[in-house]
Assembly symmetry: C2
């Protein structure tokens, strides 16, 4: 078969012009190395150490449009966020992140410099959030829109994974990280980082980032408390998850999996949210319903957390686990059933507009 040499037009150093192999040759040296590498990029597959004899695995796809806007996120932001959100899922099992593999599909006209910035974002997030974790393999393709698929790995260091079904009445509920902040940042972007037609505007986003850094950083470049996942496991957490869809919705997941009620104290929730930078003027519901914080929500048996200050790392108490009553397993706020549906749902957000 005669193959067509139909490289897309673009800048001299675009992905489509230089090709996959030449682009990879520039990107691979930037990627963070993993301390767990047995055999790194360059063969059919990578090999990493799994000293525990088990491997924790999570995968996630980020898509231009539903998951990010190129006008708001730099390529460095996207590399950072792709790493951070997957590291957080590993941490939420009580595991130590060891490695990532990254599949990236980008338009042919994408400058290779953008791919280098993406790799720098991966590198900087690993260095900042999970030292020792690195990229051991990947895949690069041309596509009509930017698509990022990350699979992350972690080691349990001979501990049991912390699941979402272990919460028991009497446990304290605690969170490490921000609440509602990433959603505040997204709302700010949708409201203010748009032009007169409502389209995402890069200049306005950059300016907002100077004035309202906390929310925008939480949304565009999250800093989940990765090390607190292992700390929670060592401290004896009975359940844990990564807050991706909002505190109330994710707390309900623990509640239903465990057959209990998670009773949140709104004053404590608000205190954590404000301490992490949420605007005091923001809708009070935001701390309960805003998604994408990638904070860690965990429950701890009373015997491992008798004085509240004994909780590990950045965990703060925000409520208590109680028996499921006549309403069944679920979430209460200050003792009242809480039944909103405001958690972050990628389908509800999807408008078909990329920007």
């Amino acid at each position: 078969m005669t193959l067509r040499e139909t490289h897309a037009s673009g800048a001299d150093d675009s992905l489509g012009v230089v090709g996959e192999l030449a682009a990879l040759a520039r990107i691979i040296p930037i990627l963070p190395e993993s301390d767990s590498t047995v055999l790194g990029p360059g063969d059919d597959a990578a090999v990493i150490a799994a000293p525990d004899g088990r491997m924790v695995i999570t995968t996630d796809m980020m898509l231009h449009g539903p998951d990010f806007r190129r006008a708001w996120s730099t390529m460095h932001d996207l590399g950072w966020k792709a790493a951070a959100t997957n590291l957080s899922d590993i941490a939420a099992m009580g595991a130590r992140p060891t490695a990532l593999v990254v599949a990236l599909a980008a338009p042919a006209e994408t400058p290779v410099a953008d791919l280098e910035a993406f790799a720098e974002g991966l590198r900087d997030a690993c260095m900042a959030l999970a030292p020792g974790c690195g990229v051991v393999g990947g895949d690069l393709s041309v596509a009509s829109s930017l698509t990022i698929a990350v699979t992350a790995f972690g080691d349990l260091d001979d501990r049991d994974p912390v699941r979402r079904d272990g919460a028991r009445p009497g446990d304290v509920i605690a969170v490490s990280g921000s609440l509602g902040l990433a959603a505040e940042g997204l709302a700010t972007l949708f409201e203010h980082a748009v032009d007169a037609t409502g389209a995402p505007d890069a200049a306005r986003a950059a300016e907002l980032r100077q004035r309202h850094p906390a929310g925008l950083v939480a949304q565009l470049r999250p800093h989940p408390p990765i090390a607190d996942g292992v700390a929670a496991a060592i401290a004896g957490a009975s359940s844990m998850l990564d807050l991706s869809d909002g505190l109330a919705l994710d707390a309900r997941r623990i509640a239903r999996a465990s057959g209990v009620v998670l009773d949140l104290d709104i004053a404590l929730v608000r205190e954590v949210a404000l301490a992490h930078g949420l605007d005091p003027a923001a809708d009070p519901l935001l701390a309960l319903t805003g998604g994408e914080d990638h904070s860690l929500l965990a429950t701890f048996p009373p015997d491992v957390a008798p004085p509240v200050r004994a909780l590990p790392g950045g965990f703060h108490v925000i409520g208590r686990v109680v028996e499921a009553g006549r309403h069944g397993a679920g979430v209460q706020v200050d003792g009242q059933p809480f039944d909103e549906r405001g958690g972050w749902d990628p389908f509800a957000q999807w408008s078909g507009q990329a920007g």
Copy 2:
């Protein structure tokens, strides 16, 4: 933040209408279970057994347009191929495939029945090609075009990984699986499974599949010899890889990594190609340059393969490794340097047309 409830219009049971969670509830029961599952889908991350203490990992993204046409591939085909091509990369390291994670992004109007067919394709490929391997986790999103990212895992069972840099002069070169057949199938589709305007045509593809099954099956629903990966490792293969970009180009990768020349015997190459169903009337170069066979190319030291028939599984000798001469490391055919550039390059193929 008030979220918009802007579900895309579509069939009553489309992904956009029923939502991610309801779709997953229908898909997950179809997925093949892995014998290595410690903790399956439903938590932040999965946990799988890694008894060897190391884990082999590969990832690959398949995109509508550059990698497949919906008019030619059924959703069952796509699930099958996504599994098969990744299993083949695991096999090429000499590892036993244990598990997959699958991230899928599909248009909102995609019927959930299509996603079920995709899951059945994953299941059937695992059952047929790598019994015991299954899907332990994944991610489902809405996107403007169908995108599939699979990460596959394998266990080395205490053997060393078979890399691409171990070929030595005197080794025999052997292949297990078809040569050029998948490319013949693709050429047939491009030539005959199109309408008068050149657009992919589903009815013509279905009809061709009845008349020319070998090439079309190799292209749309490959059957790589997965178990021969472990068999080659046990037999002492000195190097191995998965033939994704064509025999000559992939053989050059072994040659350059190993600092040797791979001298292919065109008569033996042709014999293997014809035995696996290549049309005798096809361009003789196809067996050397056609991509996507996902056969296994390996080298074996002479002491482990003294009579040719001692090679494991479906491996057949197609040449011999010799010292790098004045042309340096590379590929020869019948003793002559072979310098074509016809291997399958996803960028060269990409026309921007989806179909």
